[in-house]
Every structure is written in C-alpha cells, then in structure tokens.
C-alpha cells in the first residue's frame, strides 16, 4: 500500500485535495496529510505551484455529499494548531461517505468526540480573542492590538472586529498573522512581534483604576478567575499587572472593611429589660461611639413610661449635657412654651434625643454645638429603638432633620414635609416638624411669631391624633 503525502495549508486547500482523494477511493490509512506550516509541506507546496491548477468546477457533478454540519466542523477544526487535524478530518469524511452518513449525530463516537473537542477549543480561543484583544491608540490615531491566540484564528475572527469597530482604523497583530482594517478593506500580513504595537495608552490608566476598584476583596477567588482568564493570556492584558497586588492586599482590605464597621450602642443595650430605669442606667456606660469621650454624661430620655406622645430631638446641648436631662436649655424653653400653647402637658409625654451625647467643638472657652454625623445617629439608634419599644407611643414627633433621619430613614425635607403623617414601622403615627432651636436662629426676614404659630399648629395636630379614638380598634 503506497502512502500518499498530501499538503494542506488551510481549509480550502485541504477540502479540494480531500474531495479528489475520496473520489479516488483513497482510504484514510493510505493518506498522510502534511500540515501547510511544516517544512515538508512547504517543500511539497513549492513543487506543486508549477502544476496546472485543478479545475474544480468541472467535476462538481461528482462531488461527495456530506452534511453541512461537517463543513462547519471541518472549517473550525482546520484552525486547530495540531498537524494531526487534517488526518482526523479525512478519516471522518471517509466514514461519512462510506456507510456512516449519520455519524455526526452520535456525539459518543470517539472520533466525533475528539473533533468536537478540537472544535470547542477553537471556538473558545475565538471567544477569548473577542474578549482579550486590547487596543492601544497609535500616534496616527489608529487602534493597534497585540494578541497571542492559541490557534490559527486571525482570519476567521477578523470579521468580528470589522462588525464592531467598522468606523475606526485598527490592526490586530499576532505572531502568526496580522489583520488590518482601514474602514474600507480588510488585509492580512505576516506575523509581527509585540514591539510592533504601541507600548502605552493614556486611557489604560483609567482602565486600571476601574479594574482595581471593582474587585471586592471579600470575595477573592483566584481559581475561578484563572479558569476564565488563563495565565497564558496575561502578558497581553494590561490589567493583569494589578492582580498579584490586589490579591496580596485582599486579606488586609477585607479585615479593614470589617474593622471599619462602626461600633454601635447595640452591645450596650440590655436586651431583656422592661424597665426604663435599667435602660437609662445602662446608657450611662455606653461607649457605642466616640462621643462619650468628651461629653459630660449621657442624656437619656425623660417622661411618662406609658406616654402616648413621644418627642424626639437631635442631641443634648450645652445645658443638657451639664444637667443630664433633655430639653432644659434655651431650646427646651421654646419647646415648653409651644407645648403649653398646644395644650400638651409635658409631663404626659416622653421627651428624648436621637443621639444621647453632646457633640461640640471647642472655641476658646465655649463649646459650640456640632451636628452629629450619620455614623453617630446610627450608632445611637439602638437606644432610641429600645425607648420606643418600651413606651410604644401612639404618636412620635421628630423635632428636626436628625430625628427624622434616624426614624424615617430618608432625607426628609423638614420645610416640605412638616406636619404630614408619615409611614413608619416605629409607631402608628409619625410626624416631623422643626427643631425648637431653629426658632432661635431664624434667618432675617422670618418672624418668630409666625414660625412659633406653625410649630404649635404641628404639635396640636399631634395631640389631636393622640386623643383620637383608635380606628377599627
């Protein structure tokens, strides 16, 4: 049995030769395919060039019928970087045309399986090319990439980039072959080394910033990453240089995230008490945030254990801090007057603050009130919640934005939303209004009397609700 040595350079040349061999009845054992990229094949090909080109069309009538699926499989597998592919394809073609026309429908056949695996590898490589090509802007404005595919896929995949980047000039360089697009025509040229592509691009720095910022150190998982972004591709991916650093610091950053978890009053709140007194005493020792460090004492709420109306302010002021009771300073005076005008006996209500320690700045000898930050409000919220849970007020009035932020949970606009009933989980009825201290610092042009009347009106609304019969109860 003579062995035929046949060169195949690409899919078209293999197909032409294979057709002829099948017609001649050459069995797979009699044919030895030489890969077009190997030396032996190059020699053979050179010899062939002198021969007259075969007239394929004239023999079309005797063309072997193969399923279309075979052609697409063979076309893909022909890109696979292994000289064996031509032999395997020929073997499959032979079996398809010799009694096993439905062979491709049996994915469990060893030969079919093998070729399918190769097909899949090429597809995957193509997919990785779509994903991992990284263009850099060259001096002339063209976008140039250097990429290293596993298989011979540049020609096969160039069209993808034309469809996507048709309106820009680009080049994709690979060690095997390069593709060039000038918005009109696609050309191919011999392979080029990495140095032929631009070595930097300004936008790349922003890309690196982005890449570093979206990594969640709490989820580090290198195995999953390298499964999808194999290390062999890293050399052409600019972001890969960040990977080791990100991983090295992931543990620390994760720890940092947990450390930054702000402390909270939660661990100081006794969970099983029904006594306001016990609660208040526990609050004296609270270190839930740093505010306890500089203030004189904890200023807890005051009032009736069974109060149906609860008033929540912001935080104790200078006077409150020294006396240890809420609303005893200038703002407290305004509040008392307004309550009286609204017909409310303060002794029937419960009065407290969203934050229980005085926050201030020292200016000379004076301690100037400083608004608490979000973290103070949330750190202190467990106390307020515990007070609410014990008292179960029917109506809560938030005095000012801080109390509203704590209990309403969104940016309430006091001036817009004052005097309206809001949906809340904390009490059946919840309303926001101004903080009495706002009346002491009215901007020019606003009259105290007018604002005071409005404040009283809001409070009256609240007390009406307190006294209203329970609906459906």
């Amino acid at each position: 049995m003579a062995i035929l040595e046949v060169p195949a350079q690409d899919f078209a040349s293999w197909r032409t030769a294979a057709r002829k061999l099948i017609r001649q009845g050459a069995t797979p054992l009699e044919v030895h395919w030489l890969d077009g990229t190997s030396d032996a094949a190059q020699g053979l090909l050179a010899g062939l060039e002198a021969a007259p080109p075969e007239d394929d069309a004239s023999k079309a009538t005797t063309t072997t019928k193969v399923p279309r699926e075979f052609l697409s499989l063979a076309e893909t597998v022909s890109c696979f970087r292994d000289p064996q592919r031509w032999n395997l394809l020929y073997e499959l073609l032979w079996r398809l045309s010799h009694g096993e026309p439905h062979l491709l429908d049996d994915p469990a056949d060893p030969l079919v399986r093998k070729l399918r695996v190769m097909e899949k590898a090429v597809r995957r490589d193509a997919h990785k090319m779509h994903a991992f090509v990284r263009f850099r802007e060259a001096a002339d404005g063209a976008m140039v990439a250097f990429h290293k595919p596993d298989h011979h896929i540049v020609r096969r995949e160039a069209d993808f980039f034309v469809r996507r980047f048709g309106a820009m000039n680009w080049a994709i360089l690979t060690p095997d072959e390069c593709a060039y697009w000038d918005q009109k025509q696609l050309r191919f040229g011999p392979g080029l080394p990495r140095e032929s592509a631009p070595s930097e691009d300004e936008v790349e720095d922003l890309w690196l910033t982005y890449y570093g910022s979206i990594f969640n150190p709490a989820r580090a998982n290198l195995t999953a990453m390298t499964a999808e972004m194999p290390v062999k591709h890293w050399s052409t991916l600019p972001e890969s240089k960040l990977i080791n650093g990100l991983l090295r610091t992931a543990g620390d950053r994760m720890y940092e995230m947990i450390r930054k978890q702000p402390s909270s009053a939660a661990s100081f709140v006794p969970s099983d008490t029904t006594s306001l007194k016990v609660l208040q005493q526990a609050a004296c020792n609270c270190q839930g945030c740093e505010l306890y460090e500089h203030a004189t004492q904890t200023v807890f709420g005051e009032g009736l254990r069974k109060a149906r109306l609860m008033l929540v302010g912001e935080q104790p002021g200078d006077q409150e801090d020294q006396q240890g009771a809420p609303f005893v300073g200038p703002a407290g005076k305004v509040l008392n007057e307004a309550l009286e005008a609204a017909g409310i006996d303060r002794a029937d209500a419960y009065v407290t603050n969203a934050v229980k320690h005085f926050r201030f700045e020292e200016r000379g000898k004076r301690r100037i009130h400083k608004k608490p930050d979000g973290r103070h409000i949330s750190a202190c919220k467990p106390w307020l919640e515990a007070e609410i849970a014990l008292i179960k007020p029917k109506v809560i009035v938030c005095l000012g934005a801080t109390a509203a932020q704590s209990l309403v949970g969104r940016d309430v606009r006091i001036m817009q939303d004052r005097g309206k009933w809001m949906d809340s989980l904390h009490a059946p009825n919840l309303m926001v209004t101004v903080h009495p201290s706002a009346l002491l610092r009215l901007p020019p042009g606003m009259s105290y009397e007018e604002e005071f009347t409005k404040f009283v009106r809001d409070l009256r609304l609240a007390t009406e609700e307190v006294n209203a019969p329970l609906s459906n109860a």
Partner: protein, 413 residues
C-alpha cells in the same frame, strides 16, 4: 475632583451589584458608529474574585437621599462621595469600548433630589451615547423605583436591559432595612417595563418592526444573608418574579460586609456557598422542571451547603431511582444528579445509535462519580444497587470550597 478619583469612588460603589450580563441583545452597528451586540455576552476580563468584567459598571453618583442599611451609599454612611457629569460617563464608555475593554455600560445611581430627576440623568447618558455618538454597544440602566412610568418608557428605548432591584425577599424586611422602599413600588417599575417590552413585541408581530425596547429584558437582584429569610422564601419570591414580570434573571448577592456598614447587620464574610446553591436551585427551577417546594420543602427550608440541590433532592427521593438512561424520558433524565441539560440532550441524540454504557456517558462529560448511583446502563452498573443503602449519602464528599462563579452561572448540574 480628578476624573481618576471619581472613577475609583463610583466604580467601587457600584461593585455590589452582581449583574454584569451583556447577552440577549442584537443590535447592528449604525453607519459611522461604534459598537454592536450579537446576542452572546462577552466577558472582557476577570477580577481576582472570579467575577467577569463585561460592562463598565458605574454609579452616576453615590450621593443618596435614602438610608437603606445594607447599602454603602445610604445617607447615614460616611463614605466619600462623588458625582459624574453625564458627559464624563459618555466619554469613559466610548474610550473603554474602543479599546475593547468592555461590552458596554451598566449605569446606576444613588437617588438625588427625586426618583424622577435621578432617572432623567441616567436616561440622558444613554440617549447621548445612542443619539450623539451612535453607540451600538450594550447599555444596562437601573430603573429607580417610584419614578414616573413615562421615564421607564424612555429608558427602555435606549437601553438593552433595565433592572429594578427587589433587594430583599420579604417586604416587611425591606421596610425595616430600607424604610423608603416598598415591594409594591419596585414591582410597579417591573410592571411598567414588562408593559413596554410586550408592546414592542406586539408591534413587531403586527408591523414587522418596532423600535428597540429593552431587547435584553429585565433583571433584578436579591441580597441574601442580611436578613433571616430562609432559602425557601428567597426562591419563592424569585419564581414569583419570574412568572409575574417575565424577568430574564434574578441575581442573588451574598451580603458582603461594606465599609461604614450599618451596625445592625452581620459582619462575617459573605455566604458565598449559599449564593452558589441559590443559583443552582434557580436553574433547577427554570430549566430542569423542579418546583420550589421540591427543592426547599417545609422540612428543609434552607438548601444544604455541602451538596448541590439536585443531589439533595435525589437523596430524599430514592424511590425515583435508578433511572434507565436508555429508556427514561427527558424529564426523568434531567433529575439525575451529575447530569446537566446539555448532557441530557447529547444522551438523547446518542441513544438513537447505541445503547448507552457507562463509558459512553463518561465521554459525554457526565459526572459519573455522582450519577452512577442513580442510573442503570446497558452494561452492568453495580453501583445502582446501592440506591437504597443508608450509607449512600456518605459516598458524596462535600465539594471543594473554592467555587467558580462560572459554573453557577451556566448552571450545569
């Protein structure tokens, strides 16, 4: 503020959204424009957490008037804040796209001023990309709950995908952790979006063509592990959303400790395996014909962490096995542990040519180690006789703890 710094802040703040899909949309490149979509999503990179980078995922701003305690951007958090102009986002998107870093943009935002105002800002970015720059890449916009229906309509015209996040499986829990949010409002947005999608489909059917409307559909995200809701509740909510609003995907996001977190929330490492199991269960429900109650019955409302939900079901229902791989119908094959949808289809094909033996299954990439106890094949399979032994569950070593998110996402079981 420097663009670089803004990018760092607003990308960092966006990373808690799990969705990064860019598939399901077909959009030809416009003449003279850049970008197209061809149905298949592309992951352009992977971060060291194994997550795919497909879209430029950003917040327009992380200022927010709300106070959702699971969110780093809530008003009470002291995180650094920044805000992009719509033009900055447009340019970043185009520059990244031209370098083939991304498939497109996923833009979300904290709520500033009002939901309507915020939604308008997001729409303006998408409109500029499409109209001014003829950008054909993928655009995913966040649908801010409680915005006007008209704005969701506009968003759908420019975006490939819209998503309103349901956040938590139980409305009551949501109201506790996110006082300003309601399931009704969030699902209200979903209903509007569904309406737009159906209308566009209907128009295509009648007139052969209609303007694009969120061709890649809508998705949502649920945070798991921030509240005590069991997996049964999570999956029930998910399947209800799939049915009611025709969602393409529900994403499960393991609650991750966030800097400046609300002190009331758990601060352990996020429950990654639980998240992975939820994705597997989600696939069983959507593609394998399982019902939520089969996967998480009242006697076991949480998915076991040490085995996949299908194996767990099979061990609870051994009366169903062994299954003859050469005779059983598709629905039964789908219930065999270790055999995925693609395996089943290959087996059905191959079955016409040969009586399947164990080695054939191995060649079809079936996970024999799992499947062998549940099947009979053309050759003798001694393991099938173990189906009723008490020791069977011990045959299955708990899986390695390193999980690839990819397997979860493709869901082959």
């Amino acid at each position: 503020m420097e663009l670089d710094r803004k990018l760092a802040i607003l990308a960092d703040a966006a990373k808690y959204d799990a969705s990064c899909a860019s598939s399901g949309s077909y959009r030809k490149r416009a003449d003279g424009g850049i970008g197209n979509t061809e149905g298949m999503g592309i992951c352009h990179s992977y971060t060291p957490d194994g997550r795919c980078v497909s879209l430029l995922k950003l917040l327009l701003t992380n200022y927010c008037i709300y106070d959702c305690s699971y969110c780093v951007n809530r008003i009470s958090s002291d995180t650094p804040r920044a805000r992009f102009t719509p033009e900055e986002v447009v340019n970043l998107t185009l520059n990244f796209y031209k370098r083939n870093y991304i498939e497109g943009l996923f833009l979300s935002s904290g709520v500033i001023q009002t939901p309507d105002y915020t939604m308008e800002q997001l729409i303006s970015v998408a409109r500029q990309l499409r109209e001014t720059h003829k950008f054909g890449g993928y655009i995913h916009l966040k649908a801010v709950p409680a915005a006007s229906p008209e704005l969701y309509r506009q968003a759908g015209l420019w975006a490939d995908r819209l998503s309103a996040n349901i956040e938590l499986p139980v409305d009551q829990e949501l109201r506790t952790l996110a006082p300003a949010k309601r399931h009704t409002e969030i699902e209200g947005a979903m209903i509007q979006i569904k309406g737009g999608i159906l209308e566009a489909k209907d128009k295509t059917n009648r007139e052969g063509k209609s303007p694009h409307f969120a061709p890649a559909g809508q998705s949502t995200q649920m945070i798991v592990g921030a509240t005590p809701a069991p997996d049964a509740t999570v999956l029930q909510k998910a399947s209800q959303l799939y049915k009611k609003h025709k969602l393409r995907r529900v994403y499960y996001s393991a609650f991750s400790p966030i800097p400046h977190a609300d002190p009331g929330l758990p601060i352990e490492k996020p429950p990654m395996i639980r998240e992975h199991r939820l994705y597997q269960a989600d696939w069983l429900i959507r593609f394998y014909g399982f019902d939520v109650n089969e996967i998480t019955p009242t006697t076991a409302p949480d998915l076991p962490l040490d085995k996949d939900p299908k194996l767990a079901w099979a061990l609870r229902h051994r009366e169903f096995f062994p299954i003859d791989v050469n005779k059983a119908p598709r629905a039964a094959l789908l219930r065999i542990p270790g055999i995925g949808v693609r395996n089943v289809d290959r087996m059905l094909k191959s079955r016409r040519f040969r009586a399947l033996r164990l080695e054939d299954l191995a060649r079809l990439r079936v996970s024999i180690a799992k499947a062998r106890y549940f099947i009979t094949t053309a050759d003798h399979n001694p393991d099938a006789f173990q189906i009723d032994t008490v020791k069977l569950p011990q045959r299955f070593q708990p899986e390695a703890q390193q999980l690839s998110l990819f397997t979860a996402v493709t869901g082959e079981l």
